[in-house]
């Protein structure tokens, strides 16, 4: 059943918040101990920072992998954890955590997915990737009525006078896609050069040439309107000064930035937006809730992927005691254990 439409909560062993490299590797370590996982991530794909910030950039400090890109690391991890059939809930933010009457953790997302599990693992890195907000006075007052950082329903923009800001793929894709619906469309970018896909940039330039839209080389410096209804945006340029253009809606696309978000409301002790953990179990101030990777802190902490992998392995031992309290933990190596090899599908 699709997310957000399930009549009953999903029940599983472990819910992992964050599908970056540490969250993914936790699936592996937990899987070897017969622990099943669901993962929630605000991005629409696995990899976290590796996928969002530097998919094409080389990483040189993964043990025994002299070089790989962020995307390659993600792809390899996905291949490595495939035998354990993790269930992903992408494009969703974990918004609330509570305890059920029978002692399970209940995690809810902003798409109303409800997952109940014995253990929570927070592997949320630097927090949730959220749209960068222009530091314009009073912009909050227009959000969700006239200012939108994402397009969920194109129909909302039909017949409106739109201003889109930015020079990347999101700005250019939505410029080209919304132009046929809009009453008018102005693209605002700080320079007459675009890092978006050349094909889309060409389409935009054709629309400008044919009079279908306007391109302004400027930056947005202010908003006009009242009661949440935009009537115009103020543009500025160092040569041309300031001027305003009328519009009903503004869509700023300046990329994403990380914010801790609702995890801060989960009732855990925090230290400067990081979650303190012990270095035996990587457990937080609350029993049954663990934190691994960039989001945790402890004496000597290094924000390295390899440290997060180590943390995932030790956390899994502690999680096993909670998920399978009746089972004795048997320490085994994948090289020699037929049992582990069967779980991995290689024996």
């Amino acid at each position: 059943m699709p997310d957000g439409q399930s009549q009953n909560p999903i029940r599983t062993d472990v819910t992992i918040v964050g599908a970056g490299p540490c969250g993914l590797f936790a699936v592996f370590e937990l899987g070897l101990l017969d622990i099943k996982c669901h993962l929630v991530d605000i991005l629409d794909r696995p990899g976290g920072q590796c996928a969002e910030l530097y998919p094409e950039k080389p990483i040189y400090d993964i043990p025994a992998v002299p070089i790989c890109t962020g995307q390659e690391l993600t792809d390899k991890l996905m291949e490595q954890i495939a035998p354990f059939d993790p269930v992903f809930h992408f494009g969703q933010m974990a918004t609330a955590l509570s305890k059920t009457e029978d002692g399970w953790w209940r995690l809810t997302t902003d798409m109303d997915t409800v997952i109940e599990s014995k253990v929570i693992v927070i592997a949320a890195g630097g927090g949730s990737f959220m749209p960068k907000k222009p530091p314009i006075k009073d912009i909050d007052a227009f959000e969700d009525t006239s200012v939108f950082y994402a397009v969920r329903q194109m129909e909302k923009f039909r017949g409106k006078h739109l201003v889109i800001a930015g020079g990347g793929d999101s700005a250019l894709d939505w410029t080209v896609n919304l132009q046929p619906l809009a009453a008018s469309l102005t693209l605002v970018h700080r320079r007459d050069d675009f890092r978006a896909a050349p094909d889309t940039v060409n389409k935009m330039r054709q629309l400008v040439a044919s009079g279908g839209m306007t391109l302004e080389i400027a930056q947005i410096s202010g908003l006009e309107g009242s009661d949440g209804q935009l009537t115009g945006v103020v543009l500025k340029d160092k040569d041309k000064g300031e001027w305003s253009i009328p519009c009903d809606m503004l869509l700023p696309f300046y990329g994403l930035t990380m914010k801790l978000g609702p995890v801060a409301e989960f009732g855990l002790n925090l230290n400067e937006n990081l979650i303190p953990v012990d270095t035996e179990k990587f457990q937080t101030s609350t029993e049954g809730i663990f934190a691994i990777g960039d989001i945790n802190t402890y004496p000597g902490k290094l924000k390295l992927i390899l440290s997060g992998f180590h943390e995932a392995a030790l956390m899994s031992q502690a999680a096993h005691r909670i998920v399978h309290p009746d089972r004795k933990l048997r320490f085994q190596y994948t090289t020699s254990s037929t049992d582990l090899q069967q779980k991995l599908g290689v024996a």
């Binding site: 920072q49 910030l53 530097y54 950039k57 630097g126 960068k132 222009p134 530091p135 930015g166 020079g167 990347g168 970018h189 700080r190 320079r191 050069d193 890092r195 930056q219 160092k238 300046y254 990329g255 930035t257 990380m258 924000k303």
Partner: protein, 102 residues
């Protein structure tokens, strides 16, 4: 060597810097607020600074990648740079920069 950093409240801080350190790393190490999410990979545009005009010519030129990443910043000016792309060296002793809004 020293980097002079003006924070968002207008207060100037003289920060001791080491040869080869990124200006972003100096700012972060001294605890001034700079997000620097990607850790210096020119991939996130969260270490935006303004360089004092008298120092601009002494800096290595922006790469095309840095110019692209500045598209993800606000209030971009001619003297905008990403602090992770400026490495300290003798000739930059005394460099003056200001943290951009954000």
């Amino acid at each position: 060597m020293i980097v002079r950093v003006t924070d968002r409240g207008g207060v100037e801080h003289a920060l001791e810097a080491l040869d080869g350190w990124r200006v972003m790393e100096v700012i972060r190490d001294w605890g001034l607020p700079i997000k620097a999410e990607c850790g210096g990979a020119c991939s996130c545009a969260t270490c935006h600074i303004y360089v004092d005009p008298e120092w601009l010519d002494r800096l290595p030129a922006k790469s095309a990648e840095e110019e692209d990443m500045l598209d993800g910043c606000f209030e971009v000016e001619d003297n905008s740079r990403l602090a992770c792309q400026i490495l300290m060296r003798d000739t930059l002793d005394g460099l003056k920069v200001t943290l951009a809004p954000g």
